[in-house]
């Protein structure tokens, strides 16, 4: 996974609540067995609407996405995070997220930053003057070139994962002793390979 330390970019704003993962990547693109190449299908149906936010010329090249509350709700499809990342987004800023999307994002190298409404309003006001932000994942700060600076809270473990681009599985496998001890004390209830029906 790519490291995620600092991003400076224009910000794309899709200020709608409850953007579900069916919108982010519709089902017809989940039939592929690859992990890459989903960016071209991002917001597939909404992209057909001429006034969809991502068509705005000032949002071109954005690596930061600002969205409404409960972003990424619905289906667990990690393809949604893959599509956002493949399209170029590394940072999402919103008032809240669905739990599964937040977890999928970390594994995809995307930081989901939660800000309270008041700070989001400040941020939007600053962006309306000049559309650019720097997000620093090591210091957990967002800075606007006109001087606005916001610090945000972020899960420490997720931060370390993102900043260093760490692989969860390799880390967990180092705890094999604990897993083996648990298994020795807890026999499986059944063997799915021999279920007679």
């Amino acid at each position: 996974m790519r490291e995620l330390r600092q991003v400076t970019s224009v910000v794309a704003i899709i200020d709608r609540p409850d953007i579900d993962t069916d919108q982010i990547i519709p089902k017809q693109f989940l039939k592929r067995i690859e992990r890459t190449g989903y960016g071209q299908f991002l917001f597939y149906d909404w992209m057909k609407e001429p006034d969809f936010e991502l068509h705005k010329p000032d949002f071109k090249g954005a690596e930061i996405l600002l969205a409404g509350r409960n972003f990424g709700c619905g289906s667990s499809r990690e393809h949604a995070a893959w599509a956002l990342e493949d399209y170029g987004f590394r940072i999402v800023i919103a008032p809240s997220y669905s739990d599964i999307f937040r977890s999928n994002s970390v594994k995809t190298g995307i930081a989901t930053i939660t800000l309270p409404d008041a700070e989001l309003a400040q941020l939007k006001a600053a962006l309306a003057q000049r559309n650019e932000l720097t997000v620093d994942m090591e210091t957990l700060t967002i800075t606007h070139p006109d001087g606005l600076a916001i610090t945000f809270a972020f899960d420490e473990f997720a931060q370390e994962t993102l900043v260093h681009g760490l692989d969860d599985i390799a880390r967990t496998l180092k705890r094999d002793d604990a897993i083996a001890a648990y298994e020795a004390a807890t026999p499986g209830r059944f063997d799915t390979r021999t279920l007679s029906t």
Binding site: R16, P17, D18, D20, D22, Q23, P26, K27, Q28, L30, K31, R32, I33, E34, R35, D45, G68, R69, N70, C73, G74, S75, S76, R77, E78, H79, A81, S96, Y97, S98, D99, I100, S103, N104, K107, T108, D155, E156, F157, D168, I169, T172, L173, R175, A178, I179, Y182, E183, T186, G188, R189, F190, D191, T192, R193, L195, S196, T197
Partner: protein, 465 residues
């Protein structure tokens, strides 16, 4: 010391390792796999040279992509994905209930049916409706593909402990009102993000008197309120459902299991981070009007006016939803006509759901303007329904009777809505385009869907007597 909740009991029993400032390492007792969210996980294992650690605690099925009409699959990309699952299962030694095996079905119908969904377990699947299995007093939740790979490789997950919420349904369910109406009303009340960060326990008289099918319907839709997990304490109803199924303990082991499982409930003095009370005695059949499951009204109500929403964000969302749905504020729900009916999905395609719907359509006929289909949740449900003659009831009434699968719940297979088509659906998501690009979905119970099929519009199932 204060008592502990059902959730806490299961969680504590599964902590493998815990370090301060880090998510806990949780053991997973059962991993369910399907074709859509697994290929990249298997590929990750292959690239890293890692095996599936516990194939004996893993089982796969084919559901999302499969056509529900007999005959060979014609969608070559879907076929490649199904073939990949078959090859991956063979390579990694994971048992597979493939199409045609007689054991296939929607993953959340298959688990309980096999008796491998049991109280006190941790169960995961690369699918957000894994919460369904919580109906058995299990901690069950959906995960993404990276987590699927993590479970395959380690049989564990790194999880932050969620907060706890109890939703108490008091009173006796009135005639014509179902588990689906209970959960839709709950989502309408707490909102589609009301459960974010929580594991929900459903309790109260109206839950205790529900069948396992009804409890599964409710737990299934926990995720539509944003909660990854929903659960119900196991009781005699639960044990009766599990007993004798292939994965259930047998003989003396059964008695010991029941004794253990009987202790799995929240203590009387346990505390929850949030408690929500819902009185079911005044509950009415529910129908969604918008583009998320929280946009819901009683069938005797009207399409809401966006101007009545205090929050500007909610107002804009309602305006957009009405536009997408092609609805006018103030329209009585019973005046909305429909083009399609879908009875199916992991929410409402179990035998009890089909029986209930069949009761409504028996001796009647689907309206000439409506195309209606029933898609059983699994091959076993289909078989059972055919034994009971339900297929004949549906076919005589003008329904299409299909093979098991997810079907038009998400329309990955050929079963989709066309743009502008309006569908009464027993599934769980009414998102824009969910059942087909431009399609308009209204969620409701199986009996309400059956009644709508006959009338060609929404009707209050209570008036049919």
């Amino acid at each position: 010391m204060a008592g502990t909740t059902l959730f806490e009991k299961i969680w504590q029993a599964h902590v493998v390792d815990e370090k301060p400032g880090e998510p806990a390492l949780i053991y997973i007792d059962l991993h369910l796999v399907h074709e859509v969210t697994s290929p990249q996980a298997f590929e990750g294992l292959r690239l890293a040279g890692r095996p599936v650690r516990r194939p004996d605690l893993t089982i796969a099925t084919m559901d999302h992509n499969v056509p529900t009409e007999r005959g060979p699959i014609t969608d070559l990309i879907a076929k490649a994905q199904l073939d990949a699952l078959r090859a991956n299962c063979e390579e990694f030694g994971v048992p597979l209930n493939a199409t045609g095996s007689g054991r296939e079905g929607i993953v959340h119908v298959m688990g309980p049916e096999l008796g491998i969904t049991q109280p006190g377990m941790t169960i995961v699947c690369g699918d957000s409706h894994t919460s369904t299995h919580g109906a058995f007093g299990a901690l069950a939740f959906g995960i993404g593909t990276s987590e699927v790979e993590h479970v395959m490789a380690t049989q564990t997950l790194l999880q932050s402990r969620p907060k706890t919420m109890q939703i108490r349904f008091s009173g006796t369910l009135p005639f014509g009102v179902t588990a689906k109406d209970m959960v839709l009303a709950a989502i309408g009340k707490i909102g589609v993000d009301g459960g974010v960060g929580y594991a929900i326990e459903y309790a109260g008289e109206a839950i205790e008197t529900l069948s396992m099918e009804g409890r599964m319907t409710i737990c299934n839709m926990s995720i539509e309120a944003g909660a990854r997990a929903g659960m119900v304490a196991p009781d005699a109803t639960t044990f009766a459902y599990i007993e004798g199924r292939p994965g259930a303990p047998k003989g003396a082991a059964w008695d010991q299991a029941v004794a253990r499982w009987s202790a799995l409930k929240s203590d009387a003095d346990a505390t929850f981070d949030r408690i929500v009370d819902i009185d079911v005695t005044t509950l009415t059949p529910q129908v969604t009007w918008g583009t998320n499951p929280g946009m819901v009204v009683p069938v005797d109500g009207t399409v809401p006016d966006p101007a009545d929403f205090a929050d500007p964000t909610d107002r804009e969302a309602a305006e957009r939803a009405l536009q997408y749905m092609g609805l006018e504020a103030g329209t009585p729900v019973t005046e909305i006509t429909i083009d399609r009916v879908f009875i199916g999905s992991c929410t409402n395609a179990r035998i009890e759901d089909l029986r209930a719907a069949a009761t409504v359509v028996r001796g009647k006929h689907v309206a000439s303007t409506v195309r209606a289909m029933v898609v059983p949740g699994s091959a076993k449900v289909k078989h059972q329904a055919e034994q009971e003659g339900l297929d004949k009831v549906f076919v005589d009434a003008g329904f299409e009777w299909r093979e098991a699968g997810c079907s038009m719940c998400l329309g990955m297979n050929p079963d989709t809505l066309s743009p502008g088509e309006r569908c009464a659906s027993t599934s769980n998501r009414n998102f824009e385009g969910r059942q087909g690009s431009g399609g308009r979905t209204h969620l409701l119970s199986p009996t309400m869907a059956a009644a709508a099929a006959v009338a060609g519009r929404f009707v209050d199932v209570r008036e049919l007597g």
